[in-house]
């Protein structure tokens, strides 16, 4: 199985890649890890005339801390996230989430930027980014703009990224010390997308929730931020009653697509259950 013919370009810098995108126009597609795009091309869901491979641009890789912010190059692989000491210490939610993605072979190639830019609600990074309050650096012919993860995802395969722009960097504010975290994902088997998954960051103050951030994977046409559940939890203790109500509020905004993983009611129920479990696990890890 081979894709339709295309021309291949391998620029060595972001500037060259932007220039190429400008010259080639909307028939060009960016290639990151290729583990979503290449299967789509083989199946003829996508037939770009040009592929611009970002794999040779060294400046797009790496994880560092600048001030109170973690900066991750868009072409950093899932395997690199999993092996990062900095992330394990400062943003372990991202390490836990990356471990839930596909299998080792995919994680050596798949990139955080590709996962986000693809705009697939079944991908895992969008919900992790919502929970971590991340921002994305979008670089285009006129320079850079920084947009929040909350609001970046517009719909199925649709994001704020313009056709002449490249997602170059992910910026994550270092979570407050003592924050709890969890990514709970229900999937039928390795390599499958989530039936439902929930990412949670949780700050406690004494016995009460100071702040909760909740992202829902594969619960609608795009990643969902469970705003009502977040607002409800503020000031509450974590107990059966508050967990049930938060799960109910998360389920309320779900609009999952029925498929071989289950019908809408089942997926909605599983979103509630993953939300409950993620809050519980985050609570157990949080230090007041």
């Amino acid at each position: 199985m081979i894709p339709a013919a295309f021309d291949y370009h391998a620029p060595r810098s972001v500037a060259d890649a932007i220039k190429l995108l400008g010259q080639l126009g909307p028939e060009a597609k960016l290639l990151a890890g290729g583990h979503s795009l290449l299967p789509m091309m083989k199946l003829r869901f996508a037939q770009p005339a040009h592929l611009v491979d970002l794999g040779r641009i060294a400046e797009l890789r790496g994880i560092s801390q600048v001030g109170n912010e973690i900066r991750i190059g868009a072409m950093t692989t899932e395997h690199e996230l999993l092996s990062s000491k900095l992330l394990a210490e400062k943003a372990p939610l991202l390490v836990e989430g990356a471990g839930w993605i596909a299998d080792p072979q995919v994680r050596y190639k798949g990139t955080i930027g590709g996962d986000i830019s693809h705009g697939d609600p079944a991908n895992d990074h969008p919900a992790l980014m919502i929970a971590l309050d991340a921002s994305f650096v979008l670089t285009g012919p006129k320079g850079e703009r920084v947009v929040k993860a909350d609001g970046y995802f517009l719909g199925l395969y649709s994001t704020q990224l313009a056709a002449d722009e490249i997602l170059t960097q992910i910026r994550i504010p270092v979570p407050a010390a003592g924050s709890g975290w969890s990514y709970q994902k229900l999937k039928r088997k390795t390599g499958d997308f989530a039936t439902a998954a929930t990412a949670v960051m949780l700050q406690m103050k004494g016995k009460s929730v100071a702040k909760a951030a909740i992202g829902l994977t594969n619960a609608g046409p795009t990643v969902l931020k469970a705003r009502e559940a977040e607002a409800y939890l503020a000031g509450k203790e974590i107990n059966d009653a508050s967990l049930n109500e938060a799960a109910r509020l998360a389920m309320k905004i779900c609009n999952p697509t029925p498929d071989q993983r289950g019908d809408a009611d089942y997926k909605r129920a599983m979103c509630g259950e993953m939300t409950r479990r993620a809050l519980q696990a985050a609570h157990a890890r949080a230090k007041a």
């Binding site: 199985m1 081979i2 894709p3 339709a4 013919a5 295309f6 021309d7 291949y8 391998a10 290729g34 583990h35 290449l38 299967p39 083989k42 199946l43 592929l51 491979d53 794999g55 395997h79 596909a102 299998d103 080792p104 072979q105 995919v106 050596y108 190639k109 390795t190 390599g191």
Partner: protein
């Protein structure tokens, strides 16, 4: 006119230069251009793991990497890793534990198992299962494959 690119890579230690169509998969290049048919072509869209090869020290799906992306890379296949003896202990254990029936998945399984043992010489069964989770076997039910890898963990 379909685009082809001059591509130079190392395959099992030997330098190879070819003009390669942009859309050719790495595994197809290895099999059809170089005759290295040990890497198998199963699902062809990144699910089954039969096409697993090692590129710059990391195992990847040969069906989801373009051959032109391997320009400048060091590619290793089941042929090279068998000849060098790197897989010998695993191959012996697979043989002794009956860890294959039809053998279609075996080259990919061996590469995935070796990748695990390189990074973690003492994995438990759960970790073994997790690391070969991107490789399908339709014959054995995996039990014997995990047994074989565990054998190498236990006895080297």
């Amino acid at each position: 006119m379909e685009q082809a690119l001059d591509t130079t890579l190392t395959v099992n230690g030997q330098s190879v230069t070819r003009r390669i169509p942009a859309r050719m998969n790495l595994v197809d290049f290895l099999r059809e251009e170089l005759g290295l048919t040990g890497s198998h072509v199963g699902c062809e869209h990144g699910v089954c793991g039969a096409c697993t090869v090692r590129v710059n020290g990391e195992i990847v799906r040969g069906c989801l990497m373009l051959a032109v992306q391997a320009d400048g890379c060091a590619v290793e296949t089941i042929e090279g890793l068998s000849d060098s003896g790197e897989l010998a202990k695993l191959q012996k254990a697979f043989h002794e534990k009956n860890a294959l029936q039809c053998g279609f998945c075996t080259p990919g399984m061996l590469l995935a198992a070796r990748d695990l043992l390189k990074r973690n010489p003492k994995p438990d069964r759960e970790q073994i299962r997790a690391h070969i989770s991107g490789n399908y076997c339709r014959c054995t039910g995996y039990q014997a494959i995990v047994d074989a890898i565990e054998e190498v963990v236990a006895h080297g």
